[in-house]
Amino acid sequence: MINIPIKSDTYIINANDFSVAGKVSSDIKKDLKKLGIHPKIIRRTAIVCYESEINIIIHSIGGKIVFELYEDRIVINSEDRGPGISDIELAMKEGYSTATNEVRELGFGAGMGLPNMNRWADEFRIESSSKGTLIKMTIFL
């Protein structure tokens, strides 16, 4: 693997700010389009980014997404602060969600966030503690 990114961007994401949800994914999508990346790769990247953004907004007290483009892959790192995921195995199950009813009424909290990330990324790694959650997703070009 080549270890120097061609492009690297860090995006700060605030908790509970639904009005800008999707902005990071949209920016990354535009950048990838300009670079001529294959539309299927762009779509997969946009989906995993969007799910990461939403998760940070709904479940954490804030965090960041680090986007890195390498010659052979895209890496998305999602890092948030507190309260973490107590049972990762359960959280990975389709349909399982701890989102509030209020959030669900807006169409979020389908329990498909982590499963979608796992499905669309070629590699998916998750670590969580009471301090926060770290997710690393790799999509090969």
Partner: protein
């Protein structure tokens, strides 16, 4: 198909620009209200029928290249959502009918 013809055939109210020149490139339709499921399942150039009117439907539609959004059941749409749709150039239409009836009409149109 032209947006104006599309809206007229389906008896939809156009909430965004009503320019005669707007052409829709449509290859199917998807009905859904849970954003993550729509993200994963709807395809590009789809018509998306939903009862969600929150601002974030536009982020989802833009990310997966939806052609047009139809809000079913005459749900109220905020100015924020309408303005954002205009800003990103996403046609946003509204129907008094439910998602099933809209989908049936789309089917009759050959979509």
């Amino acid at each position: 198909m032209k947006l104006l013809d599309f809206a007229e055939k389906l008896q939809l109210e156009i909430m965004t620009e009503k320019d005669e020149d707007i052409e829709l490139d449509i290859n199917g339709a998807y009905v859904g209200d849970l954003l993550s499921i729509v993200m994963g399942k709807a395809k590009e150039k789809n018509v998306w029928i939903t009862i969600q009117t929150h601002l974030n439907i536009l982020a989802v539609a833009e990310l997966i290249d939806i052609s047009v959004i139809i809000i079913a059941e005459d749900m109220e749409i905020s100015d924020d959502t309408i303005n954002k749709a205009k800003e990103i150039g996403m046609p946003l239409l509204k129907s008094k009918e439910d998602a099933y009836k809209i989908a049936c009409r789309l089917n009759e149109m050959g979509i």
